[in-house]
């Protein structure tokens, strides 16, 4: 068995850009695969000129230029090169597209778009999120590879709202799917995907890094915290409304929001209008070390998202021993087990959220401690990087 795994299988991961250093999940996945003897190549649509210090090869899609003319010339050149050097894969891709009813011009366009993939020899072609597989549904088969697709949340729940038929073609293909939660698995099954082709691999965190040795302290304020992009799907406006209710009922607290994003103005105005300017601190984006420090100084972690695949930040907060209150958005109810490792509240209900926060604050020290301990144990036992590596290895081998 060990011998067989040592055979170098090539996995091509398709992403839109090279993941940042902070994307532990991704780096860990690649590291794990390499350690198990896989060769990993990363394909990205956008490759800037930064010198990426990576242990794996990165191949960027050709930028055909902005003008129509340059696009036509460069695309045409790529098309001719692809057909000359990789005639079999190119022809097969063309034929498969034709079989799918793709128009002639689109078939040619797809050949140009996918030229950089069609010249590869891979065992697996894995799309990092659903939308990346659009117009590339036939690439894996054309190059004789197996296709895998990861869904992360946004791409499964939001992209189809903007592009209603975006996965019609993909879901008819032979592919193996990776999702972050059982809830997402259910959603995929509703698209008629066979359960046996779907693997749930939850995100994982560095449980050695996210540890808190300090005992909970008695403070002047209750320290509440959220780590999230400032995006509507994170439900921060509802969170602020709940906090306004708590302020009204006389609770002394401070709320720290770590993260940046397009809804900053909206949220700062909400905090201002709700009279929370003195209670809410928008910290902006912080490094993992700083996040850890902030978490270690907090009591309650709130993740009241509207849409959420799974959420690493909640895992990190649990590992740090915070009392976590989350919404029931998609994967969150699997991330935190209600009344066992934290609390799950129906989304978009600030009144209920406020009540829950009050309830949690009122719990006895012993009750709080037992929830904390269960959460820490569960994250350490079930969401470690090692387990994730193992699961990804199995994903490609079983």
């Amino acid at each position: 068995m060990k011998q067989r795994e040592k055979h170098t299988q090539k996995i091509g991961l398709v992403m839109s850009s090279v993941p940042g250093y902070s994307e532990t999940f991704f780096r860990n996945k690649i590291q794990g695969l390499q350690d198990s003897g896989f060769e990993v190549i990363l394909f990205v649509d956008y490759l800037d000129k930064k010198n990426f210090n990576t242990s794996y090869k990165i191949i960027g899609a050709k930028n055909y230029g902005k003008s129509r003319f340059m696009n036509f010339m460069n695309g045409g050149l790529a098309l001719i090169t692809s057909c000359m050097l990789h005639p079999r894969a190119s022809y097969k891709h063309y034929q498969l597209d034709k079989k799918d009813g793709v128009s002639f011009s689109k078939r040619i366009k797809n050949l140009m778009l996918n030229a950089f993939l069609l010249r590869q020899k891979l065992e697996w072609l894995h799309f990092g999120f659903g939308m990346l597989a659009k117009d590339r549904e036939n690439v894996a088969e054309a190059i004789g590879a197996q296709m895998a697709v990861s869904f992360r949340g946004y791409d499964l729940y939001l992209s189809p709202l903007k592009h209603p038929d975006c996965y019609d073609s993909l879901f008819l293909k032979k592919a193996k799917y990776h999702v972050l939660s059982e809830e997402m698995k259910q959603t995929l099954m509703e698209y008629s995907i066979d359960a046996k082709n779907i693997r749930v691999i939850t995100p994982a965190i560095d449980t050695d890094f996210f540890q808190n040795d300090h005992k909970p302290q008695v403070r002047k304020f209750i320290e509440i915290i959220t780590v999230a992009r400032l995006h509507w799907k994170k439900g921060l406006e509802y969170t602020l409304e709940a906090l306004a209710l708590l302020k009204e009922s006389g609770l002394s607290f401070r709320y720290t929001v770590i993260g940046d994003g397009i809804e900053k103005e909206r949220l700062m105005f909400a905090a201002h209008q709700l009279g929370l300017s003195n209670q809410v601190i928008f910290k902006g984006k912080l490094s993992p070390n700083e996040i850890k420090k902030q978490l270690s100084q907090s009591d309650i972690y709130v993740q009241y998202s509207i849409q959420e695949g799974f959420c690493n930040a909640v895992l990190e907060a649990q590992a740090m021993g915070l009392l976590c209150i989350v919404s029931n958005a998609e994967g969150l109810a699997e991330n935190v087990l209600d009344k066992h490792t934290g609390w799950v509240v129906e989304k978009r209900q600030p009144i209920i959220l406020a009540q829950k926060i009050e309830e949690v604050i009122a719990l006895s020290v012993v009750e709080k401690q037992s929830i904390r301990e269960r959460a820490v144990d569960r994250v350490r036992n079930q969401f470690s990087l090692t387990q994730q590596q193992q699961k990804f290895q199995e994903f490609y081998t079983h």
Binding site: E237, M268, F269, Q273, Q307
Partner: protein, 394 residues
Amino acid sequence: MSRPLKIAIYSGEIPSTTFIERLVTGIANSGAEVVLFGVLHRKPLYDSRVKIIAYKHMRLSKLFHLVRFSILLKLFKAQKKKRLDAYLKTRDSLNLYSKVKYYPVLWHQPDVFHLQWAKGLDDWMWVQDFGMKLVLSLRGAHINYSPVADTALAEMYNKNFPKVDGFHAVSNAMIMEAQKYNALANRIQVVYSGLDLNTLTEIDARMPYDKAILKIISVGRPHWIKGYTYALDACRLLKDVDINFEYTIIGGAESIEYQYQVHDLGLDNEVRLLGPHEFDVVQHMIQESDLLLLPSVKEGIANVVLEAMALGTLVLSTDCGGMNEVITDAVNGFLVPVRDAEAIADAIVRIRKLSPEEQLLIKKNAQDTIKQQHNVEGMVSGMMTLYNEVVGVR
């Protein structure tokens, strides 16, 4: 004063928004000379007293504009040009873009430079050094929320507001907002927006509760300030109590946030998210609706509410900004607190229960409010008073 006042109404775009266009026409009709500067998108039909000094969004047009006014200034106002150039240099903005924008204004030197959008204020403070009076309109976003998150903008307001010669506030509530940034109260004049009331029709006695489906409508860009998420949450509450309704958001089509919420709350059959429509079509759709809902978290005074009141459609609005200067709850419309889906849903349930007579009375009261408080004549005379005050004519 022997000659008529020369007033620049500046929004940077020609034509501008419906309300600014109405102001341009109104001021010109009152006898003043109006000058419009900026980018010309389409040439509107104006009175001869409106002078357009604009360029098209093309390099050649800008170049012609620049050369023309550079020569004119060099020949006839060389000192002033030199002074402006020196000022621009101190701001590090002595570039072609600034010259194209500023030279025509310096050449024409209107008595009043009326800036429509506060965010651009810092770019126009110089006009005062050349004898022009600077008037600033205090409208919606620029005062209401942008400076809350943007501290640099707030600082710019703090620095410049005390120097502005006169402010036009779209509501009394706006006075309070502007004072937070050091605007002097005695320089602020509230001038309500005016509607073209010539085409007003008699209000009919349409009765929502007679129909099987209550038709609710909102109009506005898909921006968080419009508070549509609260309206959609309210829709779910209405559905929970089995009220048959149809809610249309004109302008909400492109938002994934609303699409997701509609889908998530199971409102696919009740809610329609449409793209933007022509003014006439929007008016017709408002007229065809039983209730116009304004769920905004903040507003100056929402023009769409004024339009709906004039058209005889009931209005339910959040009590934000200046909305309570137009609407008195249960008299000529309905008000609910901001950020409160339950209050919106409750109010809709209440409105549905009104008798036909009660509804008709509210609609008539609403139309009367618009006639009295939001006519073009009132807007023009209010604005002329402000202009005359800043130039020292009483």
